[in-house]
């Protein structure tokens, strides 16, 4: 069974390929990248003229909400949202109910994702049981079942001793630890970035230093233990600088950023807009600049979404009472293209690398992920970068609608994806 994507521009940063070429897929794997106009007699031909053909996008930080919170999102709706956004693979965070703290939950998620078949899903295991912050999970069993990393996301470890033990254990088993960096004593009751806008609104603030302190602690513990540390959703200039220095010092640490942390500032919370409430919160223009600079100079390795669906009724409440989190999967590529590539902050190739090969490298995922190398699984995204459109919360695939980007004019959209040689067209 052969398939030829012809007429497009193949862009694969993992091989430094960026040229007009045709992609041949055979039996679910990449078979060849051919000069444009090649004729393969027995292949199904798909015209992708004017489109960009890249490795399927990879988001290593999403919340699929299943099991436990299927009213917000489930693996099927989350997979649809991912596919609509050009993603062929996502890693889902463990704050489900029950948490991803046993092999059974890991396997349940993988099996359900395979049944749905729209997007590959790798669970991320919880660092502690029930994400309570004390008893370590059975990390080796989680890993054997298919967990690709360990994380404390949503329930950041506060006790430095727990972080130290978790890192020692993860280092022993060779699995990365993904940390949400927040000193909760400094953010108690906080609901948005501390600063002028929070003061005007009367909303308790979350100071930037609360993130920086946790980052500094986690970096020092990674240096001590040799644990592979990955900093989740970097939002402050201070974190970018700490990561830059840690990398210069040879400490095994990487970092990621979400589009909202460079596109929006805390001014977006005005009017008590709960769709602009997430954690870490939207920060200041200087932080946005620092995040963009970190992406440009390579300090920040990859781009993720922290896709965090919440039901409308949960967000239609007092700002203090609203849950943290916004959608991301369907808006990530257009935001990256519109706000990083078009203004010349990243080249298209750099941007795609940060959504494919780089996150795969960060998590140490298997060879053949985030690449179109011959023999790799045929996971492909076909992107229409000429398409200009308006983000509409009522037109999303996700079950929830909590996006602060509603009404924003953007460029670029995923046309369709291919997962293991199967074409996935949403809608």
């Amino acid at each position: 069974m052969k398939m030829l994507l012809f007429g497009g521009r193949v862009l694969d940063p993992s091989q430094n390929i960026d040229r007009n070429a045709d992609l041949l897929i055979e039996d679910g794997v990449v078979s060849a990248i051919l000069d444009s106009g090649s004729f393969i007699g027995d292949a199904e031909r798909i015209d992708v003229s004017g489109k960009i053909v890249t490795p399927g996008l990879l988001d290593i930080h999403v919340h699929l909400r299943e099991p436990g919170f299927e009213y917000k999102e489930d693996i099927e709706s989350g997979s649809r949202a991912a596919a609509a956004g050009g993603f062929t693979r996502v890693c889902c965070m463990p704050n489900t109910y029950p948490a991803i703290d046993t092999a059974a939950v890991v396997l349940q998620i993988i099996n359900r994702a395979n049944e749905v078949g729209l997007c590959r899903v790798h669970p991320i295991g919880a660092a502690t049981r029930d994400m309570q912050g004390d008893q370590l999970t059975e990390v080796d069993e989680l890993k054997s079942a298919g967990a690709v990393a360990i994380s404390d996301d949503a329930f950041p470890l506060q006790n430095a001793d727990t972080v130290l033990r978790t890192m020692e254990y993860c280092a022993m088993l060779g699995i990365p630890l993904l940390t949400h960096n927040e000193d909760k004593l400094l953010t108690e009751k906080g609901a948005m970035n501390e600063g002028y806008n929070a003061t005007v609104m009367g909303i308790p603030g979350m100071p930037r230093v609360a993130e920086d302190i946790a980052v500094a602690r986690n970096i020092l513990l990674a240096q001590k233990t040799g644990c592979r540390l990955h900093l989740l959703h970097i939002s402050t200039a201070g974190t970018v600088e700490l990561l830059r220095r840690a990398k210069a010092d040879g400490i095994p640490v990487t970092g990621e950023a979400c589009p909202h942390h460079w596109v929006l500032t805390d001014a977006a919370c005005a009017g008590y807009n709960t769709d602009a409430k997430m954690n870490p919160p939207l920060r200041t223009p200087e932080d946005c600049e620092a995040v963009k600079q970190g992406l440009k100079d390579g300090t920040i390795d990859c781009i993720v979404t922290d896709h965090a669906p919440h039901a409308a009724y949960e967000k239609e409440v007092e700002f203090d009472a609203a849950p943290f989190g916004i959608l991301g999967l369907e808006t990530s590529l257009p935001l990256v293209y519109t706000t990083l590539v078009k203004p010349g902050i990243l080249t298209l190739s750099q941007a795609i690398a940060k959504m494919t090969a780089e996150p795969a490298r960060v998590l140490g995922l298997a060879e053949g992920i985030g690449t179109l190398k011959v023999g790799a699984p045929a996971d492909v995204a076909v992107l229409d970068l000429k398409k200009e459109w308006t983000i509409d919360r009522n037109a999303v695939q996700s079950k929830s609608k909590n996006t602060p980007f509603h009404g924003m004019r953007v460029h670029g959209k995923a046309e369709f994806t291919i997962v293991g040689g199967r074409v996935i067209r949403i809608k």
Binding site: Y196, T199, M201, I203, P204, G205, Y313, E316, V317
Partner: protein
């Protein structure tokens, strides 16, 4: 003007309109029979999620003088205790055909939330740390009656600015009216990014009181001590208490305001509170002006000329 949510978002013209209307209503309060038929057939519901005697009673008095129905909902007795959301509670009150909802809530933005979801006028009676516009309006009415024009006056606000909705409403209202505003307090209780407001910020009482025509003393909540923001009442009083001695740093004829209830001997000494030694304390007058300001707000928002049209 459809709602009264925040003075930051109220125009100078509307502020003046409320103050002028309140001034004319003060005469009614001096009558032996304090009743006018202006709002007959209209219903005000007060929805209070925080304890308050002073503000709720003031609204109730204002409504009754104007012949409006005044219905008070104390949250502990309502379905909120059964877990009802704020949105559902508000929609229920609107469906009961309230003409105006006066809301006090511990969450900043709750009044805005009500305005966003309902088609009837909302008056903010204090939301979290955000604003308490009728308190600032009654402060301004009191200042105007004693000092004439607010423009050019220096008004010192002393105390826990960070947690204070009274301070925020005063900052916006007074600066819009052309006053110079000084914020004074210990650094642990000064607002974050205060330097970005159109005010001067002081952590030294003497410097902050210099040239003050008005000293508005905020109530010090004892829970601030529990949070470790202050070492003790005694130390606060020593550094920031308004006393006969510290008032010498302000202008000799400085007017003293306090939103109440007072902690005598903490943020304000008894002599200052009671206006002894020739001190110009207007604290009791503020309470009366509060009724006049709330009569004005109710009249302008649910009187016939205010035409709330989107009922139900």
């Amino acid at each position: 003007m459809r709602h009264l949510i925040s003075l930051r978002e109220t125009s100078v013209a509307d502020i003046l309109h409320i103050l002028d209307t309140a001034t004319s209503f003060k005469e009614i309060l001096a009558r032996p029979v304090k009743k006018v038929p202006t709002l007959r057939g209209r219903a005000m519901i007060t929805l209070f999620y925080e304890n308050s005697t002073r503000t709720r009673t003031s609204f109730e008095m204002a409504a009754k003088i104007m012949s409006a129905e005044a219905i008070n909902i104390a949250v502990a007795q309502s379905s909120v205790a059964k877990g009802e959301s704020l949105k559902d509670t508000l929609l229920t009150l609107q469906s009961l055909k309230a003409d105006c909802i006066v809301i006090r809530h511990h969450a900043s933005g709750a009044a805005q939330f009500a305005a966003d979801h309902l088609g009837i006028p909302i008056i903010n009676a204090g939301d979290g740390r955000h604003e308490h516009p009728t308190q600032a309006l009654l402060d301004m009415l009191t200042i105007r009656q004693h000092k004439g024009d607010i423009r050019g006056l220096t008004v010192a606000i002393v105390g826990d600015i960070h947690h204070s909705r009274v301070a925020r409403s005063n900052i916006w209202g007074l600066t819009k009216m052309g006053a110079n505003v000084h914020l004074i307090g210990p650094r642990t209780l000064l607002p974050n990014s205060g330097e970005q407001f159109p005010v001067k910020v002081f952590d030294n009482l003497q410097q902050g009181l210099e040239g003050a025509d008005v000293v508005n003393v905020l109530r010090l909540q004892t829970e601030r001590m529990e949070k470790g923001l202050l070492p003790s009442n005694r130390e606060y009083s020593r550094l920031f208490g308004i006393s006969v001695r510290s008032l010498k740093w302000a202008k000799p004829d400085a007017l003293i305001l306090h939103p109440g209830p007072m902690n005598r001997g903490v943020e304000i000494s008894a002599e200052v509170a009671d206006g002894e030694h020739g001190i110009h304390s207007a604290i009791e007058e503020q309470v009366t002006n509060g009724v006049a300001v709330r009569m004005a707000a109710l009249y302008l928002l649910m009187g016939t000329q205010g035409s709330p049209t989107q009922e139900g």
